[in-house]
């Protein structure tokens, strides 16, 4: 795969305009979907493509859609997760800023497949430019009959509304997002019932990430076999990787799923900064456990990273070099999770508070002999005992830092200072 798929319009000066999108064959997949396929056939195509959710968990998209009851007697909703709060991640912002029609076409086809007439894009409020571009694109799509009543002469009606978030990382968790959309404080809900059966306003709801939805028009246009032919069969497709941190060429890269992390960082992103060496890489946003340099040959797909003890998550790849103190990185990450804990369950709310205190003390050179055991015990108390994945992510990340960089923690305690200062 040399020719970009998801990013093909992104570097064009007017990539965000309908005319550019149409000139590249845009909205032909929507026409094909509504004229040549039944909704069930679209679900089948997506199932056959093996598309897995790009929001973090990698759940099979077609399977998720098939859980929506056919006859619900209630309206069905599609929600696009554009909250993008996972530190290290910026792919959805770039799609919405520079090629918003790709997302809108994906949403229209997905809405058709699941039988939804109304959709909401939950977009983080900081993304002012993306919000403006998406508003403009929605207006263009309406005017051209790609959205609205009787789309392209079919029986399908579909409207997309923008809902701007107002901060709080937890809103990215899909059931918390539903609470936020309903005008409540965002806190994760108990599952089951799953959103596909009882979601927004207790109606069947599908929640998908921006990049997941952006894949859909290409699957319809080029077929599931084409999609499955890119990268590993069980975790295929073109993929967006967000490169940041201590690397020469930070930026957004589109490459096949499964590309080795080392190739991504060293060849595509130019490797470490001059005179430095890579020490570790966080492969999927700060919720993903870090991988030490010797582990960089792992493939960037859901299954390979899980087998290596980490996860693909949001594909926010953060490069850390040998000039950086890992205790400091771990502390900053746990401070983030502590700040964003919604407070619903005790292991996360109180446990992370405690972890932050111990980490800050160790980082400042004031740690004591029992502190590392204390941190291990806290991770054990948090992991597997929290209501949502936020707490688990925090505990797994800290554990990886403690396992691979124990010597740095020990040095802080023994030397009573940060060896990097």
């Amino acid at each position: 795969m040399t020719e970009p798929v998801l990013l093909r319009n992104v570097d064009m000066p007017d990539g965000h305009l309908l005319a550019t999108y149409e000139a590249g064959g845009g909205y032909q997949a929507l026409a094909k979907a509504v004229h040549e396929h039944t909704p069930d056939e679209i679900i089948d195509l997506v199932k056959k493509s093996n598309l897995r959710g790009r929001g973090g968990a990698g759940f099979p998209t077609g399977m998720k859609w098939s859980f929506v009851p056919k006859r619900a007697g209630k309206p069905k909703y599609l929600c696009c997760n554009a909250d993008e709060g996972e530190p290290g991640t910026f792919k959805d912002r770039i799609i919405m800023e520079r090629d918003p029609h790709q997302l809108i076409e994906g949403m229209a086809i997905s809405g058709y497949a699941i039988g939804a007439e109304t959709a909401y894009v939950y977009i983080r409020g900081e993304y002012a430019l993306a919000i403006r571009r998406l508003e403009q694109a929605l207006a263009e799509a309406h005017a051209k009959g790609y959205l609205g009543k009787r789309i392209l002469g079919s029986d399908f009606n579909f409207t997309v509304h923008i809902h701007c978030g107002a901060g709080a990382y937890i809103c990215g968790e899909e059931t918390a997002m539903l609470d936020a959309l309903e005008g409540k404080r965002a806190q994760p809900r108990l599952k089951p019932p799953f959103p596909a059966v009882e979601g927004l306003y207790a109606s069947p709801t599908v929640i998908n990430n921006v990049e997941t939805l952006a894949c859909v028009p290409h699957i319809v246009a080029r077929g599931p076999d084409w999609f499955r032919g890119i990268g590993p069969d069980k975790s295929p497709g073109p993929k967006l990787y967000c490169l940041s941190g201590q690397v020469r060429k930070p930026g957004l890269y589109e490459l096949p799923m499964g590309i080795p992390l080392r190739e991504l960082v060293e060849d595509h992103a130019g490797g470490p900064l001059p005179g430095r060496k890579i020490k570790a890489v966080i492969p999927g946003g700060v919720s993903a456990p870090l991988i030490p340099e010797r582990g960089l040959d792992v493939g960037m797909d859901f299954d390979s990273l899980a087998a290596a003890g980490s996860m693909l998550g949001s594909a926010g790849v953060i490069v850390i070099d040998d000039s950086t103190c890992m205790v400091k990185v771990a502390t900053r990450i746990i401070e983030f999770f502590h700040h964003e804990s919604c407070g619903k369950c005790t292991p996360c709310r109180e446990g992370l508070n405690w972890v932050v205190k111990v980490l800050r003390r160790v980082e400042a050179g004031q740690g004591g002999p029992g502190d590392l055991e204390q941190l291990e015990a806290l991770c054990k108390g948090i992991f597997g005992n929290t209501f949502c994945a936020l707490g688990d992510g925090a505990a797994m990340g800290l554990r990886a830092a403690l396992t691979h960089f124990e010597h740095e923690f020990v040095a802080h305690i023994e030397e009573r200072r940060c060896p990097f200062h």
Partner: protein, 168 residues
Amino acid sequence: MREKIEVAAARYPDQRSAIMPALLIAQKEHGHLPGPVLEEVADILGVERIWVYELATFYTLFRIEPVGVFHLQLCDNVSCMLRGSEDLLRHLEAVLGIKKDGTTLDGLFTLSTVECLGACEMAPVMQVGDDYHGGLDIARIDALLERLRAMTGQAIGADPATTTPPGE
């Protein structure tokens, strides 16, 4: 404000869903969200006041207290930290003569740190109003502060009485 809020509310089957968009509209108009504005939002939507208070205090983008004309929101999450955001924070504190979360005496600048802005490819990043400023270093921060001051046509240390924060 009422008209804009009513347009937003029409997007939802339930008025409660419109509280978040209504608060964003109100904050754009007033700069921050004091009690009377929250009550007005509740009245326009016909929802419980407690529902409105609850959201205004839960979500981090809502401000109950006024901020300076320019709200400098420096990202200090990992990718920005790895590219030097801590030095930038120290520099901003020194040149503005305030600590994080403080506002300059002339009411021009409020300085905060924020979690990842979703623009780590241009780390270190700072948001001011709607705009992202990336690839920052000390020289660029200084130039940015100059531009912002020029926009209001006055320098630091001017008479606070002549500077009007939005909505005051």
